[in-house]
Symmetry: C2
Amino acid sequence: MINYKNDSIEKFVAEETWEVYLQNMNTHNLKLHDGSGAGSDFLGWVDLPKTALKEIPKAYNEAIELMQDKDVVVCVGIGGSYLGARAVLQALSKPFSKSSPEILFAGHHLDADYHADLLNYLEKKDFGIIVISKSGTTTEPAIAFRLLTDLLKKQGKSKQLKRHIIAITDAKKGALRNLADELSLMSFVVPDDVGGRFSVFTPVGLVPLAVAGVDVKALVEGAKDMSGEIGYEQLPGKNPALRYAAFRKLMWDKKKSVEILANTQPSLSYVAEWWKQLFGESEGKAGKGLFPASINLTTDLHSLGQYIQEGTPLMFETFLEISNPDQSLTIPHDEANRDKLNYIADKPVSYVNQQAAAGTYQAHKDGDVPVSRIVIDKNDAYHLGELLYFFEKACGMSAYALGVNPFNQPGVEAYKNNMFKLLGKK
Amino acid sequence: MINYKNDSIEKFVAEETWEVYLQNMNTHNLKLHDGSGAGSDFLGWVDLPKTALKEIPKAYNEAIELMQDKDVVVCVGIGGSYLGARAVLQALSKPFSKSSPEILFAGHHLDADYHADLLNYLEKKDFGIIVISKSGTTTEPAIAFRLLTDLLKKQGKSKQLKRHIIAITDAKKGALRNLADELSLMSFVVPDDVGGRFSVFTPVGLVPLAVAGVDVKALVEGAKDMSGEIGYEQLPGKNPALRYAAFRKLMWDKKKSVEILANTQPSLSYVAEWWKQLFGESEGKAGKGLFPASINLTTDLHSLGQYIQEGTPLMFETFLEISNPDQSLTIPHDEANRDKLNYIADKPVSYVNQQAAAGTYQAHKDGDVPVSRIVIDKNDAYHLGELLYFFEKACGMSAYALGVNPFNQPGVEAYKNNMFKLLGKK
């Protein structure tokens, strides 16, 4: 269960007014269930966790089996075809211990140096590709997929491509669907009624995560349990996602323009990147929307901390906390005590981190930054599933409350059209 | 030479008014040289590149020699004791090819899982530590340094610590200076007149970079040449750092509140983190300052692109570009052409990336985002030196123009004081 704790509301509105915020937000929550809001063709994600993955599907097990002996699996995708899997994987991975297979990413930018070094790294390795693209023609992943397929061919695997590639794409049409059918690739479907940034609980997120060894059943189970807690049957005041969305609306009405998601665990930094796409792309239209920014504690207290504490009062801050972190690493005792740390010797490092977060919360609150906290129990697949669904639901309501369609992204084509023109595409 | 290109000025002010902006900014530039502004005890960085490193000092070579046979060197530091070296190293490193020695970072947060996995990774390795802290008692690096020193002792190296540790700290006082003297560690001095976020051209940045194999002489050479181009003798209209600072002031006056640094190369992402500390900590005080945010192209066009294009018009955007990227990786031709990429077959990937950046610049400009461009010639040590000094100089002027002291950070103690209280420190 996610706990949304907010002791900043009373600074801004009386209880009765807050009650009105909650009631209003409830009407937006309802729209996500009855389809009466804008963009209702894209509400497939709402009930997805309830129906998906009663058990790990046979097809997922086949994907795991196909990739399990590879040295490396490269996931090729960008935006919503990339961030969900990366967020969960980063949260659950150890930074210095390689998994087997090692999971890498490509096609999420056009950095030549990155892709050249990746190809060099893969040259003598047995690698697989999970390519994720609804159309198959998005420039970044299409280029990476060409480069990687070319390398497979150079490795002499032209006739066994289907032992190395899994495609996640449209059910019927598009370049990647055609390729998958022609080469008899193992393939999975990107549903039509789920947009990219809401797709983490579809094969787009689940197949790469299953291959990476993540317990995707637990992930979806967490999302499912959360969907019950924050459904339309829930009382508004007892619905943490609704309260979070209502506070965002309150902050918008009070002329705040930036929301900072403050990660208390750096391993959640890609959850923040995923969150930025979710809220930025859903809300940032028609000249509206809170700008989504993030910091990692305690790293960025030594860079952006000064600004948050005493700079332009643009922002409110949402702390993302884990209540039960691993406590096994403790601070060694040191007889000499030159660094004067013996007052916390034998204490868990994670305990010190929690006190740093609590101290920061209070400091920013004292600095008149409106603060609130999203608390999950543990950093594991189940609780990450809860968290991601929590944000999806809050985002849907929040965008409706701003009066925009949460499910379109009319502005993202502009740079592509210019780029195509510059590249001479006909 | 850095090129600062701006075609947005005329949208906001007439030429005569812009001339006044330039002249005013020139008075702030002068203060950085004559010491007549606030915080003038911390202007050591201004002329540093002119005097530093006529050749690689013998002491640096000794540091390189001490660490060159290690499997891993861990740099321990946070904020300004960390970001400069990390920014340059990340820009110049290949993502998948390990350097020798491998360079890792610690003590830049209190993440227990990270540090536990790091210790596990180092357990059977021969590793060295470069510990960077003016006081030696900053909580994050002090904890990491204790953990790492403890591991060295467990490896049976208690009596040879000086063969494994380099200290960069105060000349005379503090916990780390005492330790360095007691154990006869190789040590370097953090100058008193250079604040952390301006310290990349002191041993704080240069020693770790030299050990990592970076051409620090070229880095400082770039800074030195840049210091000539943007000195107080330069005509205001010909001074790119002054023009950048003046445009920031114009944007502030026009009520913009967020500056987005748009990296066209993801490898510059830590340059952006360094830039955030530089500007955020220097300007974010007295209720003022532009909020520094960053995006990586083209990744974040698929997350924050929509917001920038059509969301709340809070921001202006500064593109960071490299005019001569490596062109050796080209897009393979594919007979089948299912992905329809053959129109750019045999073109360098970096060329496509440049067109994507150009297309984005035009798209955001068309979306009424004020845009400008900082262009460096190449991604190498010399040009990074130019770039970092360019930002330092622009930042000093820019903060003076806002009427704040660029060189203090009164707000960063607040969270620490709360944390110490919660941890029961006396």
